[in-house]
């Protein structure tokens, strides 16, 4: 691919830099020039690069998308559109339309003293020193062109800040809505800071409201301080014309415990890059994901877990169910550095292909430079168990229903890792609907309805 796809963004940035900066905050503007230089140097990754082997990035950026760099307000009241307050979810509910945090405060919102959950731009203006300390510190623009791209163009997004030793009892639910009348690009930025001993749970639901082509890039940086406990659930339920590039970076200090669970229920093309650094002793990461894809949907998860210090634990579980011509990819690397003794690391990737046309690529990678560690990995691609299918049919369960029960059982293992009971129940129902073909496209926030 020529530099054509890059050129339009290089031109756009050059022409609009002043406007981009005017509609953002100083702290977010500071790294733009370097990001731009990095992007010019890197260009979009090609499939020759190991890290992007399964997703042709420039193809998705080549079309002409509208952007809202001048940040005109979209006339949408999400609380009207999404009847989202499900009583038994008991979350503090917030909305982001494209990259803009919705200012209406919903009555369900209950945050503990000192906790901030809101616009990143506002936070960067009100507390520049705090944001400067963290912003861009994990998303290295010289290493990843998409991180550079997002850093160039992102003007706002979300900031979550939980001060030292504050425990947020009520999970926060963030609903991202893609909303536009023309083909549209959104560059959203998320910064999550949990200070030492802080605890919180965040559920993010991604939706596409309009029947246009969407391209979204998102960079999420998570800082988990010493002994912090954080759950992040990301649920994508968009439509076939949505392309999502999500880069999630997590840094964990000693004794912290983080659970990441990314679930793709409906999408077009999705590339999730997740990089976790275990920087302090005794840190523990649970990294889970599942994808249910059919038609021409594509889901590519690329994960990297860096065991930098001794006594850390990582558990990774990804499961895919691919139907029709869907394509799935999972590349998971675990690095155990020299001296990272007593590392415990387990990686599992299991996949079901329901048709001959569905394709799954899996690439587990384990690099170990310490000698006293417990590491394992396993990957399988298979079909449904014929013996189990027949056994169920003998009991009167139709083949169709038997297949559903097995597919459901297959992904349940991922759902069972969720540490929010209401979400677990809701997902059981949603996944069942999805397999029954009753979630044909984004219906708005099905999780919230």
């Amino acid at each position: 691919m020529s530099m054509k796809a890059e050129q339009q963004y290089i031109d756009l940035f050059t022409q609009c830099e002043a406007m981009i900066c005017r509609q953002s905050a100083d702290v977010l503007n500071a790294p733009r020039a370097k990001a731009f230089a990095d992007f010019e140097k890197l260009g979009f990754p090609t499939r020759k690069q190991e890290k992007y082997k399964y997703t042709e990035v420039s193809k998705y950026f080549a079309p002409d998308y509208g952007l809202n760099l001048n940040r005109l307000e979209f006339p949408v009241n999400p609380y009207e559109v999404f009847k989202c307050d499900v009583p038994n979810m008991s979350t503090s509910l917030y909305f982001v339309v494209n990259d803009t945090f919705d200012k209406h405060v919903h009555p369900s919102a209950q945050l503990a003293e000192g906790v901030y959950f809101g616009s990143l731009k506002d936070m960067a203006e009100q507390h520049p020193d705090l944001v400067r300390k963290y912003y861009g510190k994990l998303a290295d623009t010289s290493k990843d062109a998409l991180a550079a791209f997002n850093t160039m163009f992102a003007q706002d997004g979300v900031c979550m800040y939980v001060p030292k030793n504050v425990v947020l009892e009520r999970p926060i639910q963030l609903v991202n809505i893609l909303r536009a009348d023309v083909d549209f690009m959104v560059n959203r930025r998320v910064l999550i800071i949990l200070e030492d001993g802080a605890q919180a749970k965040l559920l993010v639901c991604d939706h596409a409201m309009d029947d246009v082509n969407f391209l979204s890039t998102q960079v999420v940086e998570v800082f988990a301080g010493e002994n912090a406990v954080f759950d992040l659930y990301e649920l994508e339920e968009t439509h076939n014309s949505t392309v999502r590039f999500n880069n999630l970076y997590v840094n964990q200090e000693a004794g912290s415990n983080v659970l990441l669970n990314g679930m793709t229920l409906h999408n077009g093309t999705t590339r999730n890059t997740t990089e976790v650094t275990l920087a302090g002793r005794g840190a523990e990461i649970s990294l889970c994901g599942m994808a249910i894809a059919d038609q021409n949907e594509q889901v590519d998860n690329h994960t990297f877990i860096d065991h930098k210090v001794p006594d850390c634990t990582s558990n990774e579980l990804f499961k895919y169910v691919l139907d029709d011509q869907a394509v799935g990819a999972f590349a998971g690397k675990v690095l155990v550095r020299e001296g990272a003794q007593h590392t415990s690391s387990q990686q599992t990737n299991r996949n079901l292909c329901a048709t001959r046309e569905a394709r799954m690529y899996t690439q587990p990678q384990l690099e170990i430079y310490a000698d006293d560690v417990k590491c394992s990995h396993g990957a399988t691609v298979g079909q449904l168990d014929e013996n189990a299918l027949f056994y169920m049919q003998q009991r009167g369960i139709s083949l169709k229903e038997a297949r559903l029960l097995l597919m459901f059982a297959f992904v349940n293992e991922v759902i069972d890792h969720i540490r929010m009971d209401a979400l677990k129940d809701r997902l059981h129902l949603l996944v069942e609907k999805r397999f029954r073909g009753e979630l044909n496209k984004c219906q708005g926030c099905a999780i919230c309805k």
Binding site: A388, Y391, I397, N412
Partner: protein, 250 residues
Amino acid sequence: MLEIKNLHANINGKEILKGINLTVKPGEVHAIMGPNGSGKSTLSNVLVGHPAYEVTKGTVTFDGKDLLALSPADRSHEGLFLSFQYPVEIPGVSMVNFMRAAVNEQRKYKGLPALTASEFLKLMRQKREIVELDSKLANRSVNEGFSGGEKKRNEIFQMAMLEPKLSILDETDSGLDIDALRIVAEGVNKLKTPDTSCIVITHYQRLLDYIKPDIVHVLYKGRIVKTAGPELALELEEKGYDWIKKELGE
């Protein structure tokens, strides 16, 4: 109830059943015995419609219906049940969900409304007692981590839930100690009514001490070569199969 006429069946192109004739009337218990590899399990698999087997000739009528024309699930709905020699483990599917799906699909087939959650759980509780199945097992995944005896008891429990007209017990006694054998056999006997029938496939007399057959058949090389009363099973236990082979001129 069941009428098998000149049934031939293959697996992987190899003919295993070479002309089976068998009639089972309501209320009857038939035992089918025979040496290893004679086709006993093939017969049960063919009757329930296992896709690996191909019927090449013959007919099977079940309660007046052409059994071979029905899907495996519909054969079950019509009242045919197989207690598997090797019950399948299904990780992630709970016994409760499995049985609820089975019971409600059968009810749908019969034009009955689905059971409510409480009706269903009550039914589970009642039927569990028949085979003394631990309530904990009912909450686990189907057969996962069950001992050999628990798996067989679980088969009879499912039989109790589905109330079949004709049950085929395929070597239900294999891998059972004497107590488990008694519980399983008593379960089968409790479920027996004057209208339901049973085909017991076994190598040994010991199961037949508990489940008394009316008729005993010997299956050998894909054919039923001898049919007699219950005394035949005792004779086989005592003398083995060689005398039958001799009778056949082998």
